[in-house]
């Protein structure tokens, strides 16, 4: 019995319970994520991070939330009031919706019912996640536009351009997964990875997805939409109190959501590490939840690591990277994957598939080498003759000479 038919037999109350559980899990993950990010980034900068509220500062996220809720809620006079209020609501609601199709465990028993920890299993589950992510961008764009202020507008504009660009690359990177799994349903993609994870089989896709998911969630080094050095706070400059808290929540839920999707599509979802598959049956199947969480937290750590390491990209570099590197690379990769898939489905021998793959690799290497050697190093000419001006100029100071150390 597939997961889809298993979930299809759920009574209505069980779906509600699962929805509540998924919501609670994601909110708890967010609270821990906010704390974890601040602690980890602090460690990377040789600081301690929040350690005052609760044991090890674990309740810091909650304390911040309470503080934000008690602050004055300002709506600027120039703002479009209705859109200004709707924007954070769009952000905060859509970010939770993608969890509906994420398979968190395999078959388990919940309140005496045999089911799986997945709210629903759409045949186009991954497309649904992409669609929800696109709707979520409206929150940011509308927030920037409705603030009636320059910097938020620029932030919103950047964000819309950013998400459109990186969603193309993201969607293309997923195509390879669809080709290999033969399905767009999340549970079937997980089931197809029982033996080999797609992060190994489709490594380039995995890398492209990992990069574009950082761009998609507006996180460093792609956090141009809220670049505090350039745009004050970006789209949320004019927001305060609970509305700001909603944006804050949405950002972290989004991170957890894309991490969960990446886990599902590339890291085998709730499956255990190779060689530890027997652990999946512990606790009546609930131990798979641990594996899922470990993988999501691993992704989250990478998000934090990127933020702690890389400086923010310039806007044109960012766009160039998206359009001129990621999209062509993923298009090329899809072509290769599709050819290999067709070859193996038509019954071509494994050797011929391997030969094809190695020929492709050789072509890529050759193009790369040719490109590198054709690129001449242009050095600026330093000895430009400056014509003597016909007016008095101050004396040029003596050039600095390095004194050899004794």
């Amino acid at each position: 019995m597939t997961i889809a038919t298993l979930i299809g037999q759920d009574p209505g109350w069980l779906i509600l319970v699962k929805g509540l559980l998924v919501f609670i899990i994601s909110v708890l993950m967010v609270l821990v994520a906010i704390w974890g990010e601040r602690r980890i980034v602090a460690r990377m900068q040789m600081r301690l991070g929040p350690n005052r509220v609760g044991p090890f500062g674990l309740v810091q996220g909650l304390a911040d939330g309470v503080k934000l809720a008690l602050k004055e809620d300002l709506i600027p006079a120039a703002a479009d009031k209705i859109v200004f209020i709707i924007a954070p609501i769009i952000s905060a609601t859509t970010c939770f919706m993608s969890f509906a199709v994420i398979p968190i465990t395999g078959p388990v028993t919940l309140f005496g019912h045999k089911t799986a920890m997945q709210m629903t299993d759409l045949p186009v589950g991954v497309l649904y996640v992409l669609a929800i992510a696109s709707v979520g961008v409206y929150g940011i764009v509308l927030a920037g536009w409705s603030s009636g202020s320059t910097y938020p507008l620029l932030g919103g504009l950047r964000s819309s351009a950013q998400v459109i660009s990186y969603e193309v690359a993201m969607g293309l990177s997923l195509v390879a997964v669809f080709i290999y799994a033969g399905s767009m349903s999340t549970s079937e993609i997980v089931a197809a990875q029982q033996q080999w994870w797609y992060s190994v089989v489709l490594f380039p896709s995995f890398i492209i997805y990992a990069i574009s998911m950082v761009g998609e969630t507006n996180r460093a080094p792609f956090d141009l939409a809220e670049a505090e050095g350039e745009l004050v706070g970006g789209f949320h400059t004019e927001y305060s109190s609970l509305k700001f808290a909603l944006f804050f929540l949405a950002e972290y839920v989004n991170i957890v959501a894309v991490s969960a999707l990446a886990t599902t599509l590339f890291l085998g979802g709730y499956h255990a590490l190779p060689g530890l598959t027997f652990t999946e049956n512990w606790l009546g199947g609930w131990f798979a939840l641990v594996w899922f969480m470990v993988k999501v937290i691993g992704f989250f750590f990478i998000f934090v690591w990127l933020r702690g390491t890389l400086p923010r990209l310039r806007y044109d570099q960012f766009m160039k990277f998206g359009w001129k590197v990621l999209i062509p690379a993923s298009l090329f990769w899809i072509m290769v994957v599709a050819t290999m898939r067709v070859l193996s489905l038509r019954g071509a021998s494994r050797i011929s598939v391997l030969i094809f793959a190695s020929v492709v690799v050789l072509i890529v290497l050759a193009v790369n080498v040719a490109f590198d050697s054709s690129r001449k190093r242009v050095r600026p000419v330093s000895s430009v003759e400056i014509p003597a001006p016909n007016f008095p100029v101050p004396q040029i100071p003596a050039p600095r000479v390095e004194v050899p150390r004794v």
């Binding site: 980890i40 602090a42 460690r43 990377m44 900068q45 040789m46 600081r47 301690l48 690591w305 702690g308 390491t309 890389l310 003597a388 016909n390 008095p392 100029v393 004396q395 040029i396 100071p397 003596a398 050039p399 000479v401 390095e402 004194v403 150390r405």
Partner: protein
């Protein structure tokens, strides 16, 4: 025009550098290396990862208090002579030196019945407004008797303006061993010059007699 574009004769760089103390810093020629290779750039990730396991620099302040630098400019203190008389003579030089106008002084004449300091005058009212003070130390430089110095005490936060105007009683140094609480007469056969010279090392029994 040609004489304008002539380079000046180079000064002897060794001499100039040693005079400026620049030689203390090792120099290395700067070369533009261009973009690093991809793997070299990835080393940055190792840097942040390694740093996670280093000892943190944070001082957990209210629990742990690190000593300040020895000459840290903290709260002021009005010092005493070894026999307990105040050093402040109420001259107001500190108040005049203060760029932030944080000090208020009122002087008063010493009398035989009410002697607070050796010499003619003493500071009757002495206030420092720590909402204005910028801890520049010009008042300390201005003080002719070393009456005013700065301590290393930096915990000066409070919740009202009036609490941050420190009175003379808040600023006076505590009485140490060998000191008597003024007012009391000066050390017998000593004048204020002896006090400044440091000839008085403690109180004399005759000073204990209350006038």
């Amino acid at each position: 025009m040609s004489e304008i574009h002539e380079y000046s004769v180079e000064p002897s760089l060794e001499r100039v550098n040693s005079e400026l103390g620049i030689d203390a810093v090792p120099t290395a020629p700067v070369t533009e290396e261009g973009t690093k290779s991809f793997t070299a750039q990835l080393l940055g990730f190792w840097v942040t990862f390694r740093t996670m396991f280093k000892k943190v620099n944070t001082v957990e302040y209210p629990e742990v208090k690190e000593p300040t630098a020895p000459r840290f400019h903290g709260r002021h203190q009005l010092n005493r002579h070894p026999d307990g008389l105040e050093k402040c003579i109420g001259c107001e030089l500190c108040a005049w030196a203060c760029p932030a106008d944080a000090i208020y002084v009122e002087g008063e004449s010493n009398t035989e019945e009410n002697r607070m300091s050796p010499g003619e005058r003493y500071g009757k009212v002495y206030q420092i407004n720590y909402l204005r003070c910028i801890f520049c130390g010009l008042c300390i430089e201005a003080c002719p008797t070393r009456a005013l110095t700065m301590t290393n005490d930096y915990e000066l936060a409070d919740d009202s303006r009036s609490k941050l105007i420190f009175e003379k009683a808040d600023l006076l140094a505590p009485l140490r061993a060998g000191m008597l609480m003024p007012p009391h007469p000066m050390y017998p056969d000593m004048d204020d010059t002896n006090y400044y010279k440091g000839d008085v090392l403690g109180f004399h029994p005759s000073q204990e007699v209350k006038p």
